[in-house]
Symmetry: C2
Subunit: 198 residues, 2 copies
Amino acid sequence: MSANGQQARKPRADVQRNRTALLEAAQRHFLTHGVGTSLEAVAKEAGVGAGTLYRHFPTREALLAAVLQTRSEELVARQADIAQLGDPVAALEQWLRALEEYFSAFSGLPEPLMAAARAQDPDNPLTLPCDTVISATEEYVRAAQRAGHVRESVRGYDLFLAAVSVAWLKGAGATDEESLDRVRALIATGYRQQGTQA
Amino acid sequence: MSANGQQARKPRADVQRNRTALLEAAQRHFLTHGVGTSLEAVAKEAGVGAGTLYRHFPTREALLAAVLQTRSEELVARQADIAQLGDPVAALEQWLRALEEYFSAFSGLPEPLMAAARAQDPDNPLTLPCDTVISATEEYVRAAQRAGHVRESVRGYDLFLAAVSVAWLKGAGATDEESLDRVRALIATGYRQQGTQA
DNA sequence: AATGAGAACGGAGACAGCCTCCGTTTTGTG
DNA sequence: CACAAAACGGAGGCTGTCTCCGTTCTCATT
């Protein structure tokens, strides 16, 4: 008998193999064709049938969340670097850029992310990563506010929304990088306490 | 012989009838199901076949642009009201709100609009209305800058992007109105010249 | 009114995705 | 090696897009 009193059968080897193949194929397709890519094509490229894909990942969001897992870990890792910075405003700024990059990993990613952030549906696999980054953003904002460099009226959630928006502009509209920079500057001017300039 | 030397046959009556029915059905469906609604359903509700729909409006964008025509006219009409305001900052603010409402007329509208703004494809029927509102925005920004109330670094196009973004947040993410207001405030703080407060 | 030319119609059908269901195959275990 | 559970795969039902072409409708002419 095992510790939990339930002698579980050892998981089959092909499961992990297929899962990995699916994730790799999905990442490739998300990268090149956006999150709206054909799941049939992903399955075919992974060398499995449609049934297998849907058994592993019942919805597009589930597959997306799994693919995003790696990137989420990178984001967490970046937080360590950001913490090194003494200046809380610079930290906030870096964090927002990191967020923005995370959100624009694949074209069309902001939509399902916003849907998850809004609905708070515990079944949606994107809800967890979403809530995590919102909380982190609130932390950075509070730190910068304590230092007196960010307006008190600003909420972390507002800047999360701003970051998603910029990511959306980048992916959907694909405006040139210059315009994007001006929008970022506009936002930065908006949240900084007067008299604080980089 | 007619003036242009080409005796054209009088256009058939059913053409106009069908066109109108299609536009009405489309507006209803765009309103309730977003711009991604089923065109088949639109055709059925208008009481015409799919072929007729596609003959009148070869692409989804063409149909969308035609439905938007009415709203575009309302937007132009609003400009007259806005011109009444003496304060150029208030005018800019009003204009941005009007833009935002226009962009969020239907859920999913910002995507095709941004695509048109970017590509500058003369075949895309959304390019014209897009360019028009961008130019108008630039006017408002210049006026406010001349009065010294808006930073010189701000471009009209930036605020156009900001307005589309907020519209996107409203439609796609459907964040609560409070958060939206805070984002608007953030943007307003960003473009206003220091020391200028409503 | 009747006729005819041509414009406009409509829906069948080819195609692409989504997703499920269930007969077949693979895999771990005794 | 044999058995049962688990996983597989792809056919098939469904919805939606868009085209093609035989049929119908209108307008102009007589």
